[in-house]
């Protein structure tokens, strides 16, 4: 990781701030003058992971670029809840066009800035998992392939939440959505389908790819900051639980995100030029049941007829991730 590990035995570096730390070593979110890129009054649901993840990421990007930042945004929850015309919660220049073209808009802004000689202004493009992994995928892959100077951030809540929880290619196996109902011998979303865009991004050999989570703020901020040190195409995939679509309590958003990492279902890592360069190790590994049980979208795996076979298949996916992305290895300091 690029941030200095600081040992404070009371809280380590796990809390947002720490009064015992020098202000320069504290997280962006702990500062009273953070940019609050998404202002209060937005219409996200109670406990929205995406609203939180987007503020974490964009505040960090603003901090890293001296607030010289332009954002392009795909259609999706993030766009709808922040910007019901003519209101907006955004505290930076922000542009929305279509569901599928956020990456292309980002490319266009970057090209315009280049033409104007404004190398100080940086560009991010962002969208949900639907706008990234399905609808916007062609533009995104093109942006990677051309190595355009854009940081693309995907806020992954594993379905189309804005339109009523329909399956996306980021929806995990066995999850209930409006289009993958928990009926039949293989209830919920099918196994073996979907795509894992972080790996696809790595396959483009772009300068920087990372996964992050709302449960690991300091790690997330360090990754955004690191991404801003590169020129060219960069991709960060942020895990943002959705209380409404997943059927979880609004206060459990961060807990669920933490469990996703601790079970191995959502590995946290960084890759540069197609190579894995670091992993955030799991502090205490948990069985996948701990993650699945609190979510109503997986309720059909438990209950009167528990589906131990499907849980075992999900556990196998987690175990594969842990090995593949070195989630149990201690980081060398």
């Amino acid at each position: 990781m690029t941030f200095q590990p600081i040992k404070f035995y009371q809280t380590g570096t796990f809390t947002v701030g720490n009064r015992l730390l020098d202000p320069s070593q504290r997280s962006v979110q702990s500062h009273r003058d953070r940019s609050n890129a998404i202002n209060s009054g937005h219409r996200a649901c109670q406990g929205c992971g995406e609203a939180l993840g987007a503020r974490y990421a964009v505040d960090a990007a603003m901090d890293a670029t001296n607030s010289q930042l332009i954002a392009a945004n795909a259609t999706g929850c993030l766009e709808v809840f922040t910007t019901p015309y003519p209101e907006s919660s955004w505290q930076l220049p922000w542009m929305h066009s279509l569901f599928g073209n956020a990456a292309a808009i980002g490319t266009g802004i970057a090209a315009a800035l280049k033409a104007k000689g404004r190398s100080d202004v940086r560009v991010i493009a962002q969208g949900g998992d639907g706008g990234t992994t399905d609808i916007g995928f062609a533009c995104l892959s093109g942006m990677f392939e051309r190595n355009d100077d854009v940081l693309y951030i995907c806020y992954d809540n594993e379905a189309y939440m804005n339109t009523g929880v329909q399956r996306s290619s980021a929806t995990p196996p066995a999850a209930r959505t409006a289009t993958t109902m928990p009926v039949g011998p293989e209830p919920g979303n099918a196994f073996g389908q979907g795509k894992y865009v972080p790996a696809i991004a790595m396959a483009h050999d772009i300068p920087y790819v990372a996964t992050a989570s709302v449960a690991y703020l300091r790690d997330l901020e360090a990754k955004v900051k690191r991404a801003m040190e590169f020129r060219g195409a960069r991709y960060i995939h942020i895990y943002v639980p959705c209380p409404l679509g997943w059927g979880t309590a609004s206060h459990d958003t961060i807990r669920i995100a933490r469990l996703a990492h601790e079970t191995g279902l959502f590995p946290l890592f960084e890759a540069e030029y197609g190579e894995l360069v670091s992993s955030l190790p799991i502090r205490k590994q948990q069985p996948v049941e701990e993650y699945l049980k609190p979510q109503r979208r997986f309720a059909h795996l438990f209950g009167a007829k528990p589906r131990a076979d499907l849980i075992a298949k999900i556990q196998a996916r987690a175990d594969t991730n842990i090995l593949k992305y070195r989630q149990l290895q201690r980081e060398e300091v």
């Binding site: 009371q10 380590g12 947002v16 009064r19 979110q29 937005h42 219409r43 209101e87 907006s88």
Partner: protein, 541 residues
């Protein structure tokens, strides 16, 4: 229209949207009672002073600590730290070494010569304190700081009471005790040594005192009937420990037997070992589990080569030998004689069977109630006689220094109120911060710092202090292991995790407040608060 191309409306901020109206429950910052504070017999605000120690402000930590207890260097050595037993961190790895940090602060204060703040404005009232032990000193300190004129009458030749005459030097070096007592006396307290109060009412009239606090302790060693030969050498533990303070050390011989199972028995056995006894045996009629002495003290005694005979009573004492009878526990857990005897060699027998209170100073005082050899007091520490309060070992209590200091403080508060014609109402206790209210994921692993112990050979032959202290570095480490249960320590978590920016950070030391215009009541702040200082309460709808 001077808007740019294709723009027809002004962009409006979302701030006009008061999303607080969505809320069905609201977060509230609370202060809960940390279990250490709840367990402290002296009522110390432990979490409060650790907070200052964590940032390295040891003087402020010491000042907060000494609001409740003027003897931290003593307490950091002799207290049995029920705070650590109840510490929530004990359920995570090990309890915070509160006692060792307290000692560090006490030693630091002595080293740097920190003094107490000058007393408040004088009240013109006069209080007599009888006894210069922990309870009397604690009351004197609190009353002096409240502005009363205080006079201590002590029967003995030195201050400290059982801290000096009951606790051996290897647990409490006398220079430490002297320094802390002197700092209390420096508040302008009049001390009269070798002044035994024969009758409390007479002394109060003679000195024109408005109130009195009695804390004479329990100094009379309890005897048991043991048939003894003429030449048998039988002593009591309190006298042995007391004579350690004099010029002439007690002569105990090479083989010493101690009878009893409390902390005093352990203290006197370890003292005998240091005086040169080659064989020291503690005889106790029940088992180790039933022994009232604290387990770590038993362990330290065993390490020093002291032997313990469990389930034994002494039937007869003769010159040079004792006859023991073996006991067996019956179904109810009481020891019963077995009729099996053994003889062991002993040059002296020391009885450590408990202590009684010398109540002669109360003769003829009206309204007093004495039960089981101790004075009964009301919840305000006042005896049945108005204006006479009592505390420490002479009232019903667990007889420890910590309890004594707590009694002194409590009595002082009530005496102060009584002298001013009011009553003292203690603030309502906060809800206990139980372990399940915390979010321990946020705390990193950090095992307890082990205090250095003196080499075993020097423990057996000298009165040097057995347990060492912490230094600046590891005291800071230890203080920072505190979880700050139930009390905000400004970790910024609530400020960070709110998806609606509805937490306002007020700046260092000022904590946070909620912006209820925008708080949707999701409860994330309460759920992610490491120390359980936020509570969700339902909105009235």
């Amino acid at each position: 229209m001077d808007k740019p191309f294709a723009i027809t409306l002004d962009p409006g901020s979302s701030l006009a949207n008061h999303t607080g109206t969505w809320r069905t429950s609201r977060p509230q910052y609370v202060d809960r009672l940390p279990p250490c504070n709840g367990a402290c017999p002296s009522g110390e605000n432990i979490q409060g002073w650790l907070y200052h120690a964590e940032s390295g402000d040891y003087e402020q930590a010491w000042r907060v600590l000494t609001l409740d207890n003027p003897l931290p260097a003593v307490m950091g050595r002799v207290c049995y730290h029920p705070c650590e037993t109840s510490c929530n961190r004990g359920q995570l790895d090990n309890a915070v070494g509160i006692n060792s940090v307290e000692r560090f602060l006490g030693d630091e204060a002595i080293r740097r010569g920190w003094k107490f703040d000058a007393p408040a404005e004088s009240s013109g009232k006069k209080v007599l304190i009888v006894g210069a032990g922990p309870s009397g000193l604690s009351a004197a300190y609190q009353l002096a700081r409240a502005g009363h004129r205080v006079e201590i009458h002590e029967a003995g030749p030195m201050t400290g009471g059982m801290m000096r005459f009951g606790i051996p030097k290897y647990r409490l070096p006398r220079d430490v005790l002297a320094a802390e007592v002197q700092r209390i006396l420096d508040l302008g307290i009049v001390l009269k040594l070798n002044t035994k109060v024969a009758n409390i009412e007479t002394s109060m009239r003679a000195g024109e005192f408005n109130a009195a606090f009695l804390a004479v302790g329990a100094h009379i060693g309890r005897r048991a009937y043991i048939p003894a030969g003429d030449a048998a050498h039988i002593l009591d533990a309190v006298s042995v420990l007391r004579s350690m303070e004099g010029e002439e050390k007690p002569k105990l011989g090479r083989r010493v037997v101690v009878y009893g199972g409390g902390n005093t028995a352990i203290d006197v056995a370890r003292t005998a070992r240091r005086l040169g006894a080659t064989e020291t045996v503690i005889v106790y009629r029940r088992t180790r589990e039933k022994m009232p002495a604290h387990d770590f003290e038993v362990e330290e005694a065993l390490q020093e080569g002291i032997m313990i005979k469990w389930l034994s009573t002494i039937k007869q004492a003769d010159a040079g030998s004792l006859i023991l009878e073996k006991m067996a526990l019956d179904d109810t857990g009481f020891p019963q004689p077995t009729g099996e005897f053994e003889t062991i060699a002993a040059d002296s027998l020391i009885l450590a069977l408990g202590q009684d209170v010398d109540l002669s100073l109360l003769n003829g005082v009206s309204g007093l109630e004495v039960r089981d050899g101790v004075v009964q007091v009301a919840s305000n520490m006042m005896t049945g006689h108005p204006g006479i309060f009592a505390g420490g070992d002479m009232v019903p209590s667990e007889r420890t220094v910590t309890v004594g200091i707590g009694h002194g403080k409590k009595a002082a508060r009530h005496i102060d109120a009584w002298l001013r014609g009011t009553t003292y109402e203690p603030a309502a206790k906060h809800e206990l911060a139980a372990f399940n209210m915390l979010h321990p994921w946020y705390y990193s692993d950090a095992p307890k710092t082990v205090r250095p112990m003196l080499d075993i050979i020097r423990r057996q032959t000298s009165f040097d202090e057995v347990q060492g202290g912490l230094d600046q570095g590891n005291a800071l480490f230890e203080a920072r292991r505190c979880l700050s249960c139930g009390n905000c320590f400004e970790c910024d978590n609530c400020y960070g995790v709110c998806p609606d920016n509805a937490v306002i950070k007020l700046g260092p030391g000022k904590r946070f407040k909620f912006n209820f215009d925008y708080c949707k009541g999701c409860g994330m702040c309460a759920n992610e608060c490491p120390c359980g200082a936020i509570k969700m309460i339902p909105e009235e709808i």
